[in-house]
C-alpha cells in the first residue's frame, strides 16, 4: 500500500491543522468530561473515582429536575416563538413595502448585538420600578409586572429577551427560503382564485417545510447555549426560576468548584442534544420535498 500511504502523506498537511484542533478541543475533552463525571474532581486536589455517585446525586436532587423542567420550557418557548414569529416576519420582510430594507435591518440588528450588551440593556429596560418598559405600560394605564425580579415572570422575561435577540436569524432563513420558491405555483393558485391567506397556508408554508426543519433545530440547539443571558440577567434566580441546565453547569463548576458534578450535568446536556441531533437527521432523511 505505498501508493495509499503516499496519498495520505500528501493530504496530511492540508488536513492536520483542522483535525488537530478537533481532536484536542472537541474529542479529547468529550472523553475527559465523561471520565470527570465519574470522579469527585474539584480543581484543588487530584480527582478520585466515585463511579456513578454524581449521577445518583443528580437523580435525587430536586434542583436538577426543576432545572431540566425550566430548560424544557425555555427551549420550547423560545423555539416556538422564534419559528412562528420568524415565519410571520419573513412574509412581512418579503412584501414590497417602502420600509423593506429598514425592516430587514431592524429585525436582524439584535442578532449582531452581543449577549453581554443585550443583558445590560434589558436589565435597564425591564427595571420593575421605573424602567422604560414599565413607564410605557404605565402611560397606557397598565401596571407593569416585576419582570426579572419576580419568580412568576422571570423565565418569561428571559424568553422575551432571548426572542428579541434571536428571532432575526430564523426570519432571515425563512426569507431566503421564500425567495427560493418558484413563483409559478403561487401565480397559478392566484389565477384559480385562491385568496392570499389560502395560498400562504396551502402552498407557501408547506413548500417551506425543509427550511422549517432546519430553523426549528437551529433555534432549539441555540436555546441550550443561551444561558449567557441568564448568567448576566438573573444568575439563575430569583428563587431558581431561571436556572437553565447550561447555567447550572457553569455555576457548579466555576462558583461551587464541583467539577465532577458539573461534568455529570454536561454529560446529561450532551445526551439531550445528541438525541435532538439524531431526531433531526432522521427527519432530514425523510423530509418532504414538493419540488
Amino acid at each position: 500500500m505505498p501508493g495509499a500511504l503516499l496519498e495520505l502523506l500528501r493530504a496530511a498537511p492540508y488536513l492536520l491543522p483542522a483535525l488537530l484542533i478537533f481532536v484536542v478541543f472537541t474529542y479529547y475533552p468529550l472523553a475527559r468530561v465523561l471520565y470527570l463525571s465519574l470522579t469527585d474532581a474539584d480543581m484543588l486536589s487530584a480527582p478520585n473515582w466515585v463511579g456513578l455517585a454524581n449521577y445518583r446525586q443528580l437523580l435525587a436532587d430536586r434542583e436538577f429536575w426543576s432545572s431540566l423542567g425550566i430548560t424544557a420550557v425555555f427551549a420550547v418557548g423560545v423555539t416556538a416563538l422564534e419559528v412562528g414569529l420568524g415565519l410571520a416576519l419573513a412574509f412581512l420582510m418579503n412584501a414590497r413595502t417602502r420600509t423593506q430594507s429598514l425592516l430587514r435591518g431592524a429585525v436582524f440588528a439584535p442578532v449582531v448585538v452581543s449577549l453581554a450588551a443585550t443583558a445590560v440593556i434589558w436589565n435597564y429596560l425591564l427595571n420593575p420600578n421605573s424602567g422604560p418598559v414599565n413607564r410605557l405600560l404605565e402611560g397606557l394605564g397598565i401596571a407593569g409586572p416585576g419582570w426579572l425580579s419576580d419568580p412568576q415572570t422571570a423565565l418569561a422575561s428571559v424568553i422575551l429577551v432571548a426572542v428579541w435577540k434571536g428571532v432575526g436569524l430564523p426570519a432571515v432563513l425563512f426569507l431566503a427560503g421564500l425567495q427560493g420558491l418558484p413563483a409559478e405555483l403561487e401565480e397559478a393558485a392566484a389565477i384559480d382564485g385562491a385568496s392570499r391567506a389560502t395560498i400562504a397556508r396551502r402552498i407557501t408554508i408547506p413548500l417551506l417545510a425543509p427550511t422549517t426543519v432546519v430553523v426549528v433545530f437551529i433555534s432549539l440547539i441555540g436555546t441550550f447555549q443561551s444561558y449567557g443571558l441568564v448568567l448576566l440577567l438573573t444568575s439563575g434566580g430569583p428563587a431558581g426560576a431561571t436556572n437553565l441546565l447550561g447555567y447550572s453547569i457553569y455555576q457548579n463548576a466555576f462558583v461551587f468548584f464541583q467539577m465532577g458534578l458539573a461534568s455529570a450535568l454536561s454529560v446529561v446536556l450532551f445526551a439531550l442534544l445528541l438525541t435532538l441531533g439524531i431526531i433531526q437527521l432522521k427527519l432530514a432523511e425523510r423530509r418532504v420535498h414538493y419540488q
Binding site: P17, Y27, L92, V112, V113, I121, Y124, L231, M259, F270
Partner: protein, 267 residues
C-alpha cells in the same frame, strides 16, 4: 392584508426591534438622575458620559484585545477550513470518508458540554490569562470545512487542470485561484466567525481574570456589575462596546444578512 396594513405593521415592527437600542442610546447621554424619572429625551445631552465611561475602565485595552482575538481567530478558521476543504473536495487519500465524518461530527458536540474539560486543558497548558486560550480552541470550524468543501466542489475541475498544465502546485492553485474565485463564501464564513468570536462571553469570562487579556464583552459585564448604579455610564460603555460592530452592520447590512442566510446550510 392591505397595502396600508403592511406598511403600518412594518413600522410597528421596526419600532419594537429598534426601541431597546434607542432607549440605551438616549440613557447613555442622560444626567444620572434622569434615567428613571426624566422625559424621553435627555434634558441636556451629557456628551462627557462617553469619555467618563471610557476612562473608568480600560476599554481601549478591551477593544484592542477583542479586535486582535477576533481577527486572528477569523484568519485561522479561514485558513484551516480552506486547507481541509481542499483536501476533502479535490484530493484522493485513504480514510477520507472517516476523516470527513470526524470533522463533521464536531457539529454534534456543542462547546458548552466541553466547557469544563477545555478549561482544565487550557489551565494545564498554562494558557489561563493569555491570547492562545481565547484563539486556539476556536481556530478550526467544521461548519467552515463543510461550507468551503461545497464551494470548492462546485468550482470547475478544468481550472485546476489548466493550472497544473501551467506548472502550478496544488498549494499555488489553492492560494492563487481557488480562494480568490470563492471570495464571497470566504467572506460569509469570515463575518460569521468574526461575529461569534467578538460576541463570545462565557469562555472568555472563564479563562481570563486579568484586565490585560479581557475582551470587551467580559469587560462590559464586569463594568456593569461594578458600576450598576450609575446607569448612564453603563449605557455609555454598552454603546462603546457595540458601536464597532453596529457601524459595520449599518454599512454592510446586506452582507451580514446574506452571510447569516448561508448558515442555514448547517442544518
Amino acid at each position: 392584508m392591505t397595502r396600508f396594513g403592511q406598511e403600518a405593521l412594518s413600522l410597528a415592527v421596526i419600532l419594537i426591534f429598534l426601541m431597546p437600542l434607542v432607549w440605551m442610546l438616549l440613557a447613555a447621554f442622560k444626567p444620572q438622575q434622569e434615567v428613571f424619572i426624566g422625559g424621553f429625551w435627555p434634558s441636556a445631552w451629557q456628551w462627557h458620559n462617553l469619555a467618563d465611561a471610557w476612562n473608568s475602565a480600560p476599554f481601549g485595552r478591551y477593544l484592542l484585545n477583542s479586535l486582535l482575538i477576533s481577527l486572528t481567530t477569523t484568519a485561522a478558521v479561514l485558513l484551516s477550513s480552506a486547507l481541509a476543504a481542499y483536501a476533502f473536495a479535490r484530493m484522493r487519500f485513504p480514510l477520507k470518508a472517516f476523516l470527513f465524518a470526524v470533522a463533521l461530527g464536531t457539529l454534534m458536540i456543542p462547546g458548552d458540554v466541553l466547557l469544563i474539560p477545555n478549561f482544565i486543558t487550557v489551565r494545564q497548558f498554562g494558557w489561563l490569562n493569555s491570547y492562545p486560550a481565547l484563539i486556539v480552541p476556536f481556530a478550526a470550524s467544521a461548519f467552515g470545512v463543510f461550507l468551503l468543501r461545497q464551494a470548492f466542489r462546485q468550482t470547475p475541475v478544468e481550472l485546476e487542470e489548466a493550472a497544473r498544465l501551467d506548472g502550478a502546485t496544488p498549494a499555488q492553485y489553492l492560494w492563487r485561484i481557488l480562494l480568490p474565485i470563492n471570495a464571497p463564501v470566504l467572506s460569509a464564513l469570515g463575518i460569521l466567525t468574526f461575529l461569534s468570536s467578538w460576541n463570545a462571553l462565557v469562555w472568555p469570562l472563564v479563562v481570563t481574570s486579568r484586565d490585560d487579556f479581557r475582551t470587551v464583552q467580559v469587560g462590559l459585564a464586569s463594568f456593569s456589575s461594578l458600576e450598576g448604579s450609575n446607569l448612564p455610564l453603563v449605557m455609555a460603555a454598552t454603546l462603546i462596546v457595540i458601536a464597532p460592530v453596529m457601524i459595520a452592520y449599518a454599512l454592510a447590512q446586506k452582507w451580514f444578512i446574506e452571510s447569516a442566510a448561508a448558515s442555514g446550510l448547517k442544518g
